[in-house]
Symmetry: C3
Subunit: 260 residues, 3 copies
């Protein structure tokens, strides 16, 4: 009986490394050596250096789209070489591997079951662990171990007190909701933390002293016009059709938004 | 008898998303969940936002190099949320998936057989289809369906009147050929629409008030010198050896070129 | 007896092409057509155009991390179209494919056994070989041939006199070691050619008229402070914690460094 086609292990990588220094490829090589059948999907290597909040946002958008068993590695790690822990986390059967600095906060906030462990077992690390590149020496070997079917509780001790980043919640008032811009994307869309359930039909959105109409999609306004839509993350976004709302309004992450 | 090694499904992705927002990884996750053995090759995520012409140029360079059965996804989609159709196209046994905005025009112009269908069948889309991210909610699931062996005619109705972008043809005159720069590449090479069959030996190339010699390869001129060669797309290119012709001549897409 | 899961061939790609022109995807397509089960890992496509030294540095960081049998393709090839040779090299059972311009110098310097061949056999090239894109027409088909188990000596004649780039060695003097910055990474770390065995404890590092303390890791200094650490390539690096030493010191590749 021929074997059914087996499903290869799948590992995603997200870093702030860029690719030109060879750091990402070193991680891929470590994975390929230890889990030779694994398919490695690049999530991103263009996270701004040290931008844990931006990484947390990106991960929230893809982690659960991948099937159970996927290992998601995230190395945005300004604290490498400090005492910050290295983590392996099972969240609804997707596995996260990365530093304990809050980079998984948004994903874990949406998970039903979370079991976290500190990566401490030297037998699943590289033989020599550098002080400055845990992506290659700890996270990549741990990811290969877990993608290859290794049991997560063998990486080290259970961890209960994960570091979390601040995820701002909107403030619901009598006649208005006050939120903030939590992410600015490549197109200049201003993604807020305001869910559509908080927005009544006919609402007006105010940001940077502009009043912006709620629309179903960009196409409801003319090219170059501002609109507010429920975007792909199921929260309110302020956009310019065929343009950049971030540039038009000169707004960055953290800007206040009011819906009334 | 052991099974012969099966060939995994292969899907290429081209977008104008960049990678830092997690949008590309969300598409990959949807594909991995529905076609777990698929290998996903990044074609590019650095297309200029909304640049359908640039995307059409890039696709023309790779689509047929891939083997029959490959699914090529292209999401450069400024019209997302409008009534523009979503397409699945079989062209010489490669499958295109993307918006009906002309992004496949150059590839289809070189195909012998083309069968196009509108993606309309909700059972091959995500359960919830957003208004702003059809890459994740329509194109990625359709690509996984087709890469997994799904029949293309099941995605929706046949389409005969595909949207096409303008692909300028050179004008052949008695003593000269007039073309244009159709693409400027990363090295500053100015790619024209003039095929070598239109160029007599000893011809002179004029662009931006400069006369440029025809050469076999960059190495026929000294470093820093301008030359015109038949490039990798089998059309005339204007180049600077070890430099950028686009910078030297201050030329962008659309510039006139004459060969006489 | 079901077949054991076979290990797919693995090919890495490093270029200075960027991705937006479709050149990289054309190479991937050629590989996929000739080695359909191969997994292609992007190493980098963001090498500065023509920067053979930068490419050589990056490759040195990952080539041996990959398992035996991996094919590493590197196309940073300002000499395409000249008489420079195309190479296939077996180095400690990893295979390099690329131009004979020194791009593999650093990797080969760390290999125990090296066998190099000129790619000359037209049956393993594309049917039509362009003058300007050997990545697609020579290197990609050769990589697919070798990843699929093709014998390296069949690509062409043995080569003994490989082109090498200059790899500067530190000068060891009575009371000091003089080295140079050989690479500046994305984080602005200044990577030198000084190995830790040359550095006594309590040493002082001088660069750009600054004296910098030796530390075990970035965390040994306050945020924004300069430090010198043994980095991930096992050489001395000058860094700014949470910042860029390259910007702080206005230093580029080639800058002198002294340890005394």
């Amino acid at each position: 009986v021929p074997a059914a086609r087996s499903v290869p292990p799948r590992i995603t990588l997200l870093t702030d490394f860029g690719t030109r220094d060879g750091y990402v490829a070193a991680m891929k090589g470590v994975i390929a050596a230890r889990a030779p059948a694994a398919i490695i999907d690049d999530a991103s290597h263009d996270i701004d250096p040290g931008d844990v909040h931006g990484a947390a946002w990106a991960i929230a958008g893809y982690w659960r789209r991948y099937p159970a068993g996927t290992v998601h590695v995230a190395v945005v790690d300004p604290g490498v070489g400090t005492a910050r822990r290295a983590l392996a986390i099972d969240a609804d059967r997707r596995i996260f591997v990365g530093p304990d600095n809050g980079v998984f906060t948004r994903a874990l906030g949406a998970a039903r079951t979370v079991r976290a462990f500190a990566i401490e077992n030297p037998t699943i690390m590289s033989d020599a662990v550098s002080a400055t590149f845990h992506g290659r020496d700890i996270f990549a070997p741990a990811a290969a171990y877990l993608a290859g079917g290794g049991e997560i509780h063998r990486v080290g001790g259970a961890v209960g007190d994960l570091v979390r980043i601040d995820v701002p919640e909107p403030r619901v008032m009598r006649n208005a909701v006050r939120g903030v811009v939590v992410h600015v994307d490549r197109f200049g869309n201003l993604v807020t933390n305001i869910r559509p359930s908080l927005v009544r039909s006919g609402a007006a959105v105010r940001i940077a002293d502009c009043s912006i109409p709620m629309c179903r999609t960009y196409a409801d306004v003319a090219s170059g016009e501002l609109c507010a839509v429920v975007g792909s993350a199921d929260v309110l976004e302020v956009s310019v059709r065929d343009g950049s709302a971030a540039e038009r309004l000169a707004v960055v992450r953290g800007e206040a938004v009011t819906v009334s």
